[in-house]
């Protein structure tokens, strides 16, 4: 078992980890999540006795790492896939680590087989890809057959097959009763691998709970309800009916309604009583990714800004979105052949279903076929709407969660 009590690490004025307390229990995979720079690696280094905490302590099996007798037989760690002398072969690298802890050389060949590097064992690790480096690092962690394993971002750089392999390996190690502590900034990956989550942001504990609890605590389940597209009055009727019955109704961009606070059968009954036909009534659960974003949005250190491309806008004609960006996504609703004549910005929040669009114009059919009269060679829209790119560029939203709900 890994335990952190009031773990704090300061570098000068910057606090990397602040008063972190948690336990990592054996028998489950515990995911350690946080955005970049949130202190995950620092915490792991402190657990391994590499960095000294400013205050607090981290113990493994009740003892500080540095006081563990023959630590490599009890604790295995992958901290950095690139932490290998490039001139040394994979086998020599593992061999010198094995010798450090008195592990026989045949174990080296075993773990090389486990991670699938036996064919390149004699090659110098300089030429290894990041994925191969990760496998080598995992091999090093497995060398001593330890009861406690720490992996810092083990799936970075792995191909899908490798990711699946790591996922299964982690689960298998945990199923054998070991303590498995895996850091990642990929929530979706942790959702599949971990049973328990420890989430930190800016060095502070945000959550310490099972994956299931994490989702339900950070996101409410909701129902998606859609009324016939051509009949907005039905939608309004249903909205007020559901509201009166105590549900919270939020209109989604595609015209559907997001309903919370009412069970699905009740929604159906209410719609029936109000004589509203439903095209869709489906249960939804916010994804783990959404819940994670929601939780850490205040604790992200590095945010991207919108690329204004100032001074870079004079793209040659024809460069840019085919058919003219301002029309592209919502073309169905408008008569063809009127580029740049004051139609509303199609990216602005609006509801294509509210228009008298044919049912075939489902979301996702953004680009109209040329036959519909949308001229591919239409006058370049940038020429008429100089500010158009800045307004219409799909802006990377720092917190997509706000969009999603």
């Amino acid at each position: 078992m890994i335990e952190a009590v009031g773990l704090t690490k300061r570098y000068g004025a910057k606090t990397a980890v602040h008063n972190l307390s948690f336990q990592v229990r054996p028998g489950t995979v515990t995911g350690f999540l946080g955005p970049n720079g949130s202190g995950k690696s620092t915490t792991m280094r402190m657990i391994l006795g590499l960095d000294a905490p400013t205050s607090g302590r981290a113990t493994i099996g009740g003892r500080p790492f540095r006081q563990l007798p023959n630590a490599p037989r009890q604790v295995g760690a992958l901290l950095d896939a690139k932490a290998v002398h490039g001139g040394r072969s994979a086998r020599q690298h593992l061999l010198c680590l094995a010798q450090l802890s008195g592990i026989p050389a045949r174990r080296v060949d075993e773990v090389l087989g486990v991670v699938g590097l036996q064919d390149v064992a004699k090659r110098r690790s300089k030429g290894f890809s990041l994925g191969m480096g990760q496998r080598l690092g995992i091999a090093a962690a497995l060398l001593g057959d330890p009861q406690v394993l720490l992996f810092d971002e083990p799936v970075n750089g792995l191909d899908p097959e490798g990711i699946l392999w790591v996922r299964n390996l982690m689960k298998q190690l945990a199923a054998e009763g070991r303590t498995v502590f895996v850091s990642s900034h990929l929530m979706s990956e942790m959702a599949l691998t971990a049973e328990h989550l420890i989430v930190i942001g800016r060095g502070q504990l945000l959550a310490d709970m099972s994956v299931k609890d994490f989702i339900s605590a950070n996101s409410a389940d909701f129902a998606r309800v859609r009324t016939p597209d051509g009949e907005p009055e039905q939608r309004e009727k249903l909205t007020s009916t559901l509201g009166e019955a105590g549900g919270q109704v939020v209109a989604e961009k595609d015209g559907a309604l997001r309903v919370t606070g009412l069970p699905l059968p009740r929604i159906s009954d209410l719609a029936h009583e109000a004589d509203v036909r439903l095209w869709e009534l489906s249960p939804h659960q916010a994804s783990l990714e959404e819940a994670y974003m929601q939780l850490t949005q205040g604790a992200v250190d590095y945010r991207s800004t919108i690329d204004q491309r100032a001074g870079l806008q004079e793209a040659p004609a024809g460069y840019g979105m085919p058919g003219g960006a301002p029309q592209g996504y919502a073309g169905q609703g408008y008569p063809p052949g009127m580029p740049g004549q004051g139609q509303p910005n199609p990216y602005a929040p609006q509801d294509p279903y509210a228009q008298q669009a044919p049912p075939a114009a489902a979301p996702g059919q953004g680009y109209p076929p040329p036959a519909q009269g949308q001229p591919y060679g239409a006058p370049h829209p940038y020429g008429q709407q100089p500010q158009a790119p800045a307004q219409t560029a799909p802006a990377p939203q720092p917190a997509p969660i706000e969009d999603a709900r």
Binding site: R45, L48, G49, L50, D51, A52, F65, R66, Q67, L68, N70, A71, P72, V75, A77, L79, D80, K82, A83, V84, H85, G86, G87, R88, S89, Q92, H93, L95, C96, L97, A98, Q99, L100, S101, G102, A140
Partner: protein
């Protein structure tokens, strides 16, 4: 202490599994011997034109070690790389996660590297001596002459201490680039400048390389008021090394890896 033999074995694997070991030590051996032979040839050709005084104080043993001024630079590179490679590759974190006893780790590492350098240094020293004397011909010295064996063994010890000093400096600075940037100009330029300018000569004598080189002299130059003998000089060099080692140890112990 059970980990000591393990760490020693592991460090031996580390040293022999990288090519830089072969390259740096090989260069040190070759340069020292070859340059020594070249200088010996020049001296032999030139011997007749020297003054009587110079002929009397001619030290054939020391002349055959002239190549060491250049060969020691390769030793410095070896010493620096042995330690700094751990940091530049990030291997240090893996190593220290496996051996949390940092003192054990550092001193086992240095012990293995130093033992290797001692063997290479002694071989180089003897080879440089015999090759140089063979070239010098009639002006040569013999191993059985007084003080010569001490000087030849001393040559090996000198190279060893240079390498060990470099390892210690690298453990303090934790970067190959930085360590070489400090050590190379120091041993190649600053030390000889300080030692050749009369105002600073008294200071320069106490620098590690100048003090240590005293042990390779068999016949002291005239008017040489050096206040220490061959072993005294070596002791001064050892003192420098010990201080650097203490610094390196403290850095490893205190700082985050």
């Amino acid at each position: 202490m059970a980990e000591v033999p393990r760490v020693l074995r592991s460090e031996w694997t580390k040293i022999k599994s990288v090519r830089s070991t072969m390259w740096t030590l090989g260069t040190a051996v070759l340069v020292t011997i070859a340059l020594g032979m070249l200088i010996c040839t020049l001296v032999r050709v030139d011997f007749g034109s020297k003054s009587i005084n110079q002929q009397i104080t001619f030290d054939p043993t020391n002349v055959s070690f002239t190549g060491m001024t250049l060969g020691q630079l390769a030793m410095i590179v070896f010493g620096v790389l042995v330690v700094a490679n751990e940091y530049s590759s990030g291997m240090i974190r893996t190593s220290l996660a496996a051996v949390p006893q940092r003192a054990t780790f550092l001193f086992c590492k240095l012990l293995v590297a130093t033992a290797l350098v001692l063997v290479v240094g002694l071989v180089t020293s003897f080879a440089a001596f015999f090759a140089g004397q063979a070239v010098l011909g009639e002006h040569r010295a013999y191993l059985s002459d007084p003080g010569v064996l001490r000087a030849v063994i001393g040559g090996g010890l000198y190279m060893t201490l240079i390498a060990l000093f470099s390892m210690a400096v690298a453990s303090m600075l934790r970067s190959a680039m930085l360590s070489l940037g400090v050590l190379m100009p120091f041993f190649f330029l600053i030390s000889s400048i300080l030692g050749n300018v009369s105002a600073t000569r008294k200071l320069g004598r106490y620098l590690p390389d100048q003090a240590g080189q005293k042990i390779m002299q068999v016949i002291a130059p005239v008017n040489d008021p050096v206040p220490y003998g061959p072993w005294g000089g070596l002791a001064i060099m050892m003192g420098w090394t010990a201080v650097a080692l203490a610094g390196g140890f403290l850095v490893l112990k205190k700082r985050d890896a």
